[in-house]
């Protein structure tokens, strides 16, 4: 790989392994994973339940330490960084979207969205001002005072997207972003996500089972049994392969 190609990478994963448990109960969940996540792309990780998708994004996001291998995210060698440094790295460079939204129920939408900025140490006033701007971008300008329980699932995921974007992270990690949504809302959220989250210097990594959203990806990596079996570039001329629509058949 040339230096130019390397610069285009958001995350470079080489030989990453991860096991859980001890002794005879020890299970190897990731078995020498290699993956390149390119800047400007939406990359989807697909595969059957238990294949290691979530463990892989946890490692790339810096929320879980790998046992071995190399991991470079936007030029930072996470394997060599201290826990505190990784925590700071996450606060500044990673945005998260969770399957269950994970919005704090006692906070308003604006307050929820401002959380990453508060973690960075911004004042509440400035953070909420910025949060309102991002909520407007995701079409939630009129809902800023509402609490999550007063919103539909689709609206909650829009708030979660705003929260993931508010601090302008370089890498956005999504765990089943449409799993809790119906087809229509899932499509709306992905359209929105593609529109506001994709950027030249930003990468989006999505773990999903939802084959209805595969066509939003630029790249799809198929996983099974702790390994990446195939990687496909997707565009108008190259739709996602049919067999990926039934991940259990990978």
């Amino acid at each position: 790989m040339t230096n130019d190609e390397s610069k285009q990478l958001a995350a470079r994963v080489r030989g990453i392994s991860k096991s859980f448990g001890d002794g005879e109960a020890r299970i190897k969940v990731l078995k020498g994973i290699d993956l390149d996540v390119r800047r400007g792309d939406i990359t989807m990780l697909v595969g059957p339940s238990g294949c290691g998708k979530t463990t892989l994004i946890s490692i790339i996001a810096g929320t879980l330490a790998a046992d071995e291998g190399e991991l470079n995210v936007f030029g930072h060698d996470l394997r060599q960084m201290s826990k505190a440094a990784i925590t700071r790295f996450r606060a500044h460079h990673i945005g998260f979207i969770f399957q269950a939204f994970n919005l704090i129920p006692t906070l308003t939408c604006a307050e929820n969205v401002s959380v990453p900025l508060l973690i960075q140490g911004l004042s509440a006033h400035k953070a909420e001002k910025r949060a309102r701007e991002v909520l407007a971008q995701v079409g939630m300008a009129d809902q800023i005072k509402r609490r999550p329980s007063q919103l539909s699932g689709g609206q909650q995921q829009r708030v979660a997207i705003a929260r993931a974007l508010v601090h302008e992270p370089k890498l956005i990690i999504c765990d089943e972003p449409t799993a809790a949504l119906d087809a229509k809302n899932g499509h709306v959220v992905m359209e929105l996500f593609e529109h506001v989250a994709r950027g030249q210097d930003r990468a989006v990594l999505i773990v999903t089972h939802d084959n209805r959203i595969f066509h939003h990806a630029n790249r799809i990596a198929g996983m099974d049994d702790g390994q990446i079996l195939e990687v496909h570039d997707v565009d108008a001329d190259h739709p996602p392969p049919e067999h990926l629509h039934a991940p259990e058949r990978l």
């Binding site: 979530t54 463990t55 994004i57 946890s58 996001a61 929320t63 879980l64 505190a84 925590t87 700071r88 790295f89 996450r90 606060a91 500044h92 990673i94 998260f96 969770f98 399957q99 269950a100 994970n102 704090i104 129920p105 006692t106 906070l107 307050e111 959380v115 990453p116 508060l118 973690i119 960075q120 509440a124 765990d175 089943e176």
Partner: protein, 396 residues
């Protein structure tokens, strides 16, 4: 982040109210029971307050003012003869029963004072004339007696009213302000000679001698001289600080009758154990409710705390959030508990029942205990949060 922590706390109304209620109850129990205990202990030495004299001389085995052994009448003269003593007067102090006009009997604390000097008379008269105590059958009652010794409930004793002590007339010539007695009976002052007439005769009737040092002689020197020259036990009668109470040891017994009296009750009655048990129950209730509720609050928020951790909140930030939450409910609960105690105090002081006296250190000590409970609750949460893997947030 701290504002966010408080919003998370206040947003969970049920848990927030439970935490505040637990700490408020704990505060109330600890502060109120301690104050009632201190009030009760202050009542044990009320005779010393109501019979003001700088020095009390009693029989050598006496340890507290409410249980005095009789002296010989000549002991008054022996005390007077001590060179460092300016004056000395006899005192009778004992529990008697009075018969009211309606036939009811009531307990009183009868005080007999020297008719010539009136030494030991109440310090503050509310009505009447102290000098009239020298008239036949005269007594002065305290403000509690105004209600307690009335003919019927709701009535008040007036000057000129009469009752009987041991079938002998006692006519009220004055009403004095006094501290309530430990037994709950009102104080009744009369002259020493008349007190001896009211009380069934015994060979020795003198209960104590009150006296004062000559000018230029310290109280400590005077009591040392009295002890040395008469063989009687002389005590100083003055208000004692908390430090003075605590500095009493078997090796170095106190010379202050107030301290000696209170310690006698602490050592020889179940009162401290009874109140101490309630205070400990208050502490345990507060601890159990607060720790359990706060821990459950942390567990319920674990998913959100995990999300915050994943988003880059450090362990330090999350711990600070938990500490702020715990201390906030602690201070609010403490405030409400203390307000409840103040309400109780207002009623107690107005009705002069039950005893209530809160030394300055009590609110601070209770605050320290409440904050200790909160810190413990926060530590449980911190322990849990510090072990939290941020990756758990991806597990559904």
């Amino acid at each position: 982040m701290l504002r966010l922590a408080l919003k998370m706390l206040f947003g969970d109304t049920a848990k927030y109210l439970m935490l505040v209620a637990g700490l408020a109850v704990a505060t109330f129990l600890m502060a109120q029971q301690t104050a009632v205990f201190c009030g009760l202990m202050s009542w044990t030495k009320s005779t010393l307050k109501n019979v003001p004299a700088p020095i009390w001389v009693v029989e050598e085995k006496v340890e507290q003012v409410n249980e005095t052994n009789p002296l010989l009448d000549t002991d008054v003269a022996r005390v007077r003869s001590v060179s460092s003593v300016a004056w000395a007067s006899p005192i009778y102090s004992g529990i008697q029963r009075v018969r009211l006009e309606n036939g009811n009997f009531k307990i009183i604390q009868l005080i007999g004072i020297d008719a010539n000097t009136l030494a030991g008379a109440p310090a503050k008269m509310l009505q009447g004339d102290l000098m009239k105590l020298r008239l036949p059958h005269s007594v002065i009652i305290d403000d509690l007696g105004v209600q307690r010794l009335a003919k019927k409930r709701g009535d008040k004793v007036k000057i000129g009213d009469a009752f009987e002590i041991n079938d002998q007339e006692a006519r009220v010539v004055g009403i004095a302000d006094a501290v309530n007695s430990f037994t709950g009976g009102p104080y009744v002052w009369t002259t020493y000679e008349r007190a001896l007439q009211y009380v069934p005769a015994q060979r020795k009737m003198l209960q104590a001698v009150i006296c004062a040092p000559r000018e230029g002689v310290s109280l400590e020197q005077a009591i040392a001289d009295i002890r040395k020259e008469t063989g009687l036990k002389a005590f100083i009668n003055r208000e004692a600080s908390f430090e003075e109470f605590m500095s009493q040891t078997p090796e170095k017994p106190t010379t202050n009758f107030n301290v000696s009296t209170v310690w006698w009750y602490v050592k020889n009655t179940g009162i401290p154990i009874s109140f101490g048990t309630t205070v400990i129950i208050g502490l345990l209730v507060g601890m159990a409710v607060s720790c359990q509720t706060f821990y459950s609050f942390v567990l319920e928020n674990m998913r959100h705390l995990g999300a915050l951790k994943a988003m880059g909140a450090s362990n330090g930030t999350l711990c600070l959030m938990l500490i702020v939450q715990a201390f906030t409910v602690g201070l609010i609960g403490y405030g409400i508990g203390l307000l409840g105690t103040a309400g109780f105090a207002f009623g107690a002081l107005k009705n002069e029942q039950p005893p209530f006296y809160m030394p300055e250190f009590v609110p601070f000590a209770v605050l320290a205990v409440v904050l200790g409970i909160c810190m413990l609750a926060a530590l449980l949460g911190i322990w849990r949060v510090s072990r939290l893997e941020p990756a758990m947030v991806f597990r559904s």
